[in-house]
Amino acid sequence: MKLTSGSATTATVAAMLLGVAALAVFLPHLAHASTDAAGQAAQAATEQAIALKPWWFWPAVLSVFCFVLGIIAVLAGVGGGVLYVPLVSGFFPFHLDYVRGAGLLVALAGALAAGPGLLRRNLASLRLALPVALIASACAIVGAFMGLALPTNVVQLCLGGTILFICGLLLLSKNVTRPVVTTQDAVGLALGMNGFYRDEGTGEDIEWKTHRTLPGLLLFIIIGIMAGMFGLGAGWANVPVLNLLMGAPLKVAVGTSKFLLSITDTSAAWVYLNNGCVIPLMAIPSIIGLMLGSFVGVRLLAKAKPKFIRYMVIGVLLLAGGKAFLKGLGI
């Protein structure tokens, strides 16, 4: 299946996002069916080995790990959170509560650092972002509370399911560089969701406008909830909705998505912050490591082969999603 722009796109993107939401509802029943004595014994042995490490060991390893993650994130064109949360919760000794808190701060720092350049170049549009951000940030607060209220294994299972879904989306989706929008819909027109940007490659001024604005705005309710619940940036969901569904050019969709993360993640980050889920000893090396890695990643981007990067990221996400899923099942 390939996602193309057209009337089927709304239904496809909506169905995929609703599929994840449905997964979040039904997976809790699976989660309780899976803890056994052998698993608990193995976990106890692992915890004993972890306890023997000095305090500086994990922040040091985490900063190097996040540096590498920062490189991969830039090469893959994804925010840090989508790789950070499943990998760190799967392979580090931190409880998921703190990983999600740090994951949101990691995604937030990356978005805040990228935001000014995107806004100045008109690659992020305030007019497009503002209504979408209001919906997504309000729903991210709800998602954050849901994430903190649900049992950890349930959240791990839902996280694993979401990451595996993202793998599918990456494998199947095909973004459109410049979607054809013949007529702007009434909502998009009323909100002035249109603009221009200069394509630095061709030197052209490109005009854009949105269509299917209302279904697009409604999908940001689900995106906001998932962002808050899992501590992910949700750039993976923003881009297809803005580009394939609403008809924003790919560059504007990617730029506005990155900028949007700075708003959506702010609301959810405060919920985690106020609930004590941010531990500076592990959160700050994560932020700094990932940002330094991003700088290196930008330099490597020109030399990297897109096809290799695409399959590398899908591989990493499969590993991370699978690990989160198994951890949720207690395996």
Binding site: L112, P116, R120, L134, S137, A138, P151, F196, N274, I288
Partner: protein
């Protein structure tokens, strides 16, 4: 309409640029103060590496860690000093949104002024800690 970036968008970008990098610099400095023991932490490091494996309610209880803005009263300790940079980072979007309200009103765009005002309220609500989640 032209491809020129709007003044309010440029203003937002400039505020975000200085604020984000200032908060990252503050975080780096306060983290070094913390890990080099220049200021003693509220939760000892040896204790913390046991607590970060447990759910947040246990960390709050055993570490006697306050919720919401309670960290302000502990800002003199190495670990909670780090929240200054984190709070600035998490507060930048709220600060950047405020000037948008009069800018859009001046342009006679009340819908966008209302959206910006509503966004400030939503983010302030999240930041206030008035609404609190159930830790597990």
């Amino acid at each position: 309409m032209s491809s020129k970036t709007s003044p309010e968008q440029i203003k937002y970008a400039n505020m975000l640029f200085y604020g984000a990098w200032a908060s990252l610099a503050i975080m780096l400095v306060t983290y070094l103060v913390y890990v080099f023991g220049i200021l003693a932490p509220h939760v000892p490091l040896e204790e913390l590496i046991k607590l970060w494996r447990t759910p947040v309610h246990n960390y709050l209880e055993v570490g006697q860690v306050p919720q919401g803005w309670g960290w302000v009263s502990l800002v003199g300790s190495g670990d909670f000093l780090n929240f200054v940079g984190i709070a600035i980072l998490a507060g930048m979007t709220i600060i950047c949104f405020v000037p948008l309200i009069p800018a859009y009103l001046k342009q006679k765009q009340p819908v966008f002024a209302a959206i910006a005002a509503a966004e400030v309220l939503v983010l302030l609500l999240a930041a206030s800690g008035i609404v609190s989640g159930g830790g597990h």
